[in-house]
Symmetry: C2
Subunit: 247 residues, 2 copies
């Protein structure tokens, strides 16, 4: 069950992140199609908690820097090592495509860092974007780091859907693709989940965290180059990952 008012808080935050200027109660209510009275309650709640204020008289509400203060506190803990951002930054620059660091979240994979391609036609992904773990290159690069039991446990919760012609729609299909990925040396996906999207990914274990790196873009552009891209990812990881004695 989705908690509507919880989702609405996030929607409001995203709304402000987009419009980047104060908005009145009426504007917000109209934008979302919410009743004024409900909007009033929600804004009052956020204000009362110190997350919204009125920067200038009669110009409406805007989030306080409290969001930022909280987000900073949260993110200063086990941040990604700085070389991982360098990694996707370099990969995006060299390939011209979108590169991301991905982490597991149940049956989904979440983008936790993204450097977007600058091309007009590109894979549009944002931090927080989620994709099915079994039907994407980045997700499968996470699954490769799981034990068989852990994978089985994930499989049980997956609802297999035919997102595209090549989507694996059974446990065996996923396991087969994982085996292929191992022998191939990298994970790939050709519109397994998103239409026209192809990508290459490899596992990126950091400490006890299971992450993956993925480079993805429009199939027509990146498709033929997937093996090269995969090799580039591997080389770039080798170059940037700090050398340690332990594996």
């Amino acid at each position: 069950m989705i908690v509507r008012q919880a989702a609405n808080v996030l929607e409001i935050m995203e709304f402000f992140a987009q419009v980047k200027k104060p908005a009145t109660l009426a504007e917000i209510a109209d934008h979302f199609g919410w009743p004024r009275s409900s909007t009033f309650n929600l804004l009052a709640t956020l204000s009362e908690k110190g997350y919204l204020y009125e920067p200038r008289p009669r110009a409406g509400f805007y989030p306080t820097p409290r969001w930022l203060a909280m987000a900073r506190m949260i993110s200063e803990v086990e941040p990604l090592p700085s070389w991982t951002h360098q990694l996707i930054s370099d990969l995006s620059a060299e390939t011209g495509e979108t590169a991301s660091i991905v982490a597991p979240a149940g049956v989904m994979a979440v983008f936790i860092d993204v450097v977007e391609s600058k091309a007009a036609i590109r894979y549009f992904a944002t931090i927080g974007h989620r994709v099915p773990i079994h039907a994407t290159a980045s997700g499968r690069a996470l699954l490769l780091q799981y034990s068989q039991e852990e994978r089985d446990s994930v499989y049980r919760k997956i609802e297999f859907k035919q997102y595209g012609p090549s989507t694996p729609i059974s446990i065996e299909a996923v396991e087969t693709e994982l085996r292929n990925s191992i022998s191939r040396g990298y994970c790939q996906s050709f519109a397994d989940y998103s239409r026209d999207l192809a990508g290459a990914a490899i596992p990126l274990p950091i400490g006890d965290r299971r992450l993956s790196v993925v480079v993805a873009g429009p199939e027509f552009r990146i498709g033929p180059k997937v093996p090269d891209v995969a090799a580039l990812i591997a080389r770039t990881v080798d170059r940037l990952r700090p050398k340690t004695t332990a594996a």
Copy 2:
């Protein structure tokens, strides 16, 4: 009316900002005394929206960097000029007390930037902290920038409460205190709102934004020095505020 589930989202965020490590459903439910099923729904909603993930297997949830990404987008708009942080930073260093930048939010005043005192006994304020606009030095420094009509409009919404012995409990009392502040050259408060707390504040108009600076601390420590502190604030503003031809 307070929107419970909206508030809960903020509580969860603050919880993670505090504990700074992943937490399982059970831990979160226990911490807040929420039913597990409700907690489940909330966490599912936040996860689905890309704000929560599972950094490592079976170690529970943690916010994704999406919070930070959103908060950055929001805060990169009309940020405070950098000299205002320098201002409160210097003030806190010189006085040993907590210094803040404050903005209006209806009948309340919100702290939008804070540098805390390092003393063991200190004014504990955080960004987002709210105080009544009429019963605090910082709030009255905001009211001084309002027109009479605007102030009247605010007064109509205030519920006058006797927070402390010196709290102004009528419109006249507030107006009188404002007049005194003008002739005095700064705003002050001696436990008008918070017990044992004294502070000095002055208006800080920036562009068309109405802000104020306040230095506050325990009454016994800062009380006798309030005039000096006020003078220091004024001097420091003069020193740091960029000179422009226009007023």
